[in-house]
Amino acid sequence: MTPWSTMGDCLNDDMVAALADGSLADSDRVAALAHVASCVDCRAQLASVARLLADPAVAGAARRADNPVRPWLKVAVPVGIAAILLVVLVPRVLLRRPPLDEHRASVSVTAGESPQALHPVGQVAAARRLTWSPVAQADRYRATLFDAEGRPIFELVSTDTVVSLPDSVSIEPLRRYFWRVEARTAIDRWSSSGLVEFEVTGGRAP
């Protein structure tokens, strides 16, 4: 059936859209074009729609609406890109061997304003929190706790000047521990407190 068969009728929206889209079958298009060539109103409407569809903003929006990004792709694409970067970049970074004359550490620890370890220092009754003085330009701090043999047993990066030790970190009385804090004052620039020693006296404050 040819839904648009009466030459005298003007085109409806469907026909105008189909003509503008170029999606009419040849037989329908010939009949419709013959009408448009002789009908001022239909020609004006068709021309207007064709100009509108040629507008890059309209064409782009229509293309995106016709081919929407699937919801799972919105997650999968960034994850895929991240995975590729990880696979490509991480080995390059890890396997990179610095030249002999290069400074061994890419991260510099400066002697500028440094944080001061405030608590615990020396003999203390309890040590469930590490507290230090703030540094003006620092955007984060890294606190590291070591046991008597110098093995790190806890490390945490924080924007605050105090961290609580989790229950998993056991501070035993009458044993020596060491800790320090580093303040990041710029990208790859850290200033460190000195290493301080403390010992929990088991309730007896000195």
């Binding site: 999606s23 448009v36 509108l52």
Partner: protein
């Protein structure tokens, strides 16, 4: 099947509408902004478009998607509908105001022209005859054409400029001596155009007169590519010029 269509088929209109708007909002806004740049106008037209599409359980959209013989992409059909609603909105907005085109400073004749030509969509000659019949004897045709051009310039300097072409064709550049002469020229031009095969005539009409991009003309007329449009036009134009000259119509007359 798309999610909004599934909801529509299940007669869950609210859910269907939300999904539909989420997916096609940008298309609707892009089509509206082609004609309206003022933010308030854009939002008012968008509200009008939504009202029309949402009306009666999305009847207009249902009718389209339920018709078994739809041939255009849905987005193209939507752009077509939004275009019509936008142009109607501009006509009706100025029609609702008693004075019509109230934001524009026009003479009494200019206001009458604006209402007849740009609001009601009458042709230039038809509008002239209507104006003369309502307030006889009316202006001379030369005075009318001068005022028509002045009105067009005044409207083109307002927020209507992007939609002006949709409301009415631009006025002729040259003064025609009289209505009969203009009509006579128009009839001779139409006759010469009618002597072309419909497909070729349409290529000239769309590309030259309506200024549709060649790629779009090719798509509409079924020509292979824009180059085929250029070839057709440049083959036909010398023939048309020769026939127009034979009929006593020269470039300055149009």
């Amino acid at each position: 099947m798309e999610d909004w269509l599934l909801e529509l088929k299940a007669k869950r209109v609210d859910a269907a509408w939300d999904l539909f708007v989420s997916r096609y909002r940008r298309v609707i806004f892009a089509a509206i902004r082609h004609y309206a740049r003022d933010h308030d106008d854009v939002m008012d037209v968008f509200a009008r478009v939504c009202e029309a599409l949402r009306d009666d359980g999305m009847r207009r959209i249902r009718t389209y998607v339920d018709s078994g013989n739809r041939r255009a992409r849905f987005s193209t059909w939507l752009v077509t509908v939004v275009r019509n609603l936008t142009v109607d909105w501009f006509r009706q907005r100025d029609g609702r105001r008693r004075a019509g085109f109230a934001d524009v400073e026009l003479t009494a004749l200019g206001r009458a022209i604006a209402e007849q030509v740009y609001r009601d969509g009458h042709g230039h000659v038809e509008a002239y005859e209507l104006i003369c019949s309502r307030d006889p004897p009316g202006p001379s045709f030369r005075e009318y054409l001068a005022e028509l051009r002045s009105t067009h310039r005044a409207l083109a300097a307002t927020r209507l400029r992007y939609v002006l072409r949709e409301l009415a064709p631009p006025p002729p550049d040259q003064d025609a001596a009289s209505v009969p002469e203009l009509r006579d020229q128009r009839e001779r031009l139409d006759a010469i155009l009618r002597s072309l095969p419909p497909e070729e005539r349409l290529v000239v009409q769309l590309y030259v007169m309506e200024e549709v991009p060649a790629a779009a003309v090719a798509r509409v007329t079924g020509l292979a590519n824009p180059k085929a449009v250029y070839n057709t036009v440049y083959r036909i134009l010398p023939v048309l010029r020769a026939r127009l000259a034979e009929a006593g119509i020269h470039a300055g007359d149009l």
